[in-house]
Symmetry: C2
Subunit: 290 residues, 2 copies
């Protein structure tokens, strides 16, 4: 019996990362290339997995995407502002060329699954993973299944309560001052201060604003889903902001809902080299193989 | 083979409703009594089900309650302001007296399950049910399972965005102006106007305020869970407010997340005589029997 290998595609809006994992979900091959036109970018994926064959493939994609297997547009990118990608048939193209089982979900769901299998969520039955970067996305798992009845979660676009002392107007063209992505993702730091987030001193008030909003988002998600872990990924928040996020969370809860110790409940991703999505893709590929 | 009968206990803070259902989940016996001390109230349940034996029992209880079967306090009422009930061992007491399998969940989860089995959710795989009455509670189902990792949802206590033109301070002792229960449950109508909700003209501005807040709650839950149906129960909202709730929902979404037609997505409970909880209890009892 041949040893099984699993493929991962992290399909991002800026770059694609492709990788091959062994049966223990260790990365044994990896490559990346910029996201250009769909035909060109998907052809590079096909080339990689033709050179490095796998038994099954897990794809974590930027969105919105159609993950409903009963839908006529399953496996496609939906209405995205990314030029050329709306309607791109990611799963169909790869399936036709590679002829292997494919698991298809969002990038953030893939990361959530990686954390569930091998990260901060490996000892619990339920978790929510948030990525806070250029945008904000959330993915939730309960007993091994993704939460999302008719489509994937869009947690970054839930309503935030704008602070009276924060006059920022938000970056989200749909939701102005009233969604988490627009008010608390990375670009909001530069939007408020004129200084790119990575160069902004951590004691700048803008970090307090976004920590407050992120705490609101975590609290709302907690009362909706009651996860055992909330894991924060992405490049914007660091461990330095965690105490502030936990303090605001408790301010909003105000002793109402029972929680684990917040240092246990709210954590940052600790998987090496941001590998949660890759490990998640491998595990989803392994699962789809049965 | 004897025909199987199923029991239901709707354990409310004001009254208990007990019922027996046949294998088609039709109610064949029903009684109710006021909620007094736990020992007395549970003894009345035991008397009823001793007179009308059932094969299994479904209980939908006021909360907070412990629904984690691995917990030492499983089946108990947790920290409730209801005198005498904190720590009341509902499942243990009934199990010892009746010795039948028991399904134990929240009142709102029971209603959600009833809608899923026999109500507005019977043709979909996922739904959220909200009860808007003295308080606000939500219960969610995806593929037949309740959503709630470590406990039941507390959706009524998620954060609302208070309107600048609404100076009401809220009824929730924990969350003031910042939770849905405090700002949009029935008592907020009288709190704002001095007129009990049931006597308040439907064109009073207070109905617009609560419709706005309820739309916020529905929108946030929608982006978190993407349910196929959102079903509103309880006595506070009527079909008259539904168009306003849908309009505010669309205002908050602003075309971002794909939804079904909102007249299909957001509906009121249509089960006769508020039977969703009873039917849900029967169905959960049937399920626990295997």
């Amino acid at each position: 019996m041949t040893k099984q290998l699993f493929g991962s595609i992290e399909a991002g809006g800026t770059k694609f990362v492709v990788a091959v994992g062994d049966s223990e979900l260790n990365i044994i091959e990896k490559a990346q290339f910029p996201t250009t036109a769909p035909a060109e970018t998907l052809a590079k994926c096909v080339d990689f997995f033709t050179a490095h064959p796998v038994s099954a493939l897990g794809i974590g994609s930027f969105g919105p995407i159609d993950i409903d297997k009963k839908s006529a547009t399953y496996g496609q990118v939906l209405a995205t502002p990314k030029p050329g990608w709306a309607g791109a048939d990611v799963v169909g193209t790869l399936k036709a060329a590679l002829n292997v089982p494919i698991a298809f979900t969002t990038d953030v769901n893939a990361s959530a699954y990686g954390e569930y299998i091998g990260g901060s969520g490996k000892d619990v039955d339920s978790l929510v993973y948030f990525t806070i970067g250029t945008g904000i996305g959330g993915g939730a798992i309960q007993d091994g299944k993704f939460i999302g009845g008719t489509g994937h979660a869009e947690m970054g676009h839930a309503l935030c309560v704008p602070r009276p002392d924060d006059d920022y107007q938000g970056t989200c063209p749909f939701h102005g001052r009233h969604c988490f992505e627009g008010m608390a993702a990375g670009p909001s730091l530069e939007g408020r201060t004129g200084i790119p987030g990575q160069d902004l001193p951590r004691d700048n008030k803008a970090f307090e604003f976004i920590s407050d909003y992120i705490a609101q988002m975590l609290f709302n998600t907690y009362v909706n889903l009651r996860p055992a872990k909330i894991i924060l990924g992405g490049s914007v928040l660091s461990d330095a902001e965690l105490p502030m996020v936990r303090d605001y969370f408790e301010k909003y809860n105000n002793g109402y809902v029972a929680t684990p110790d917040l240092t246990e409940l709210i954590v940052t991703s600790k998987m090496p080299n941001n590998s949660s999505a890759t490990v998640g893709d491998f595990a989803l590929a392994k699962q789809v193989l049965g």
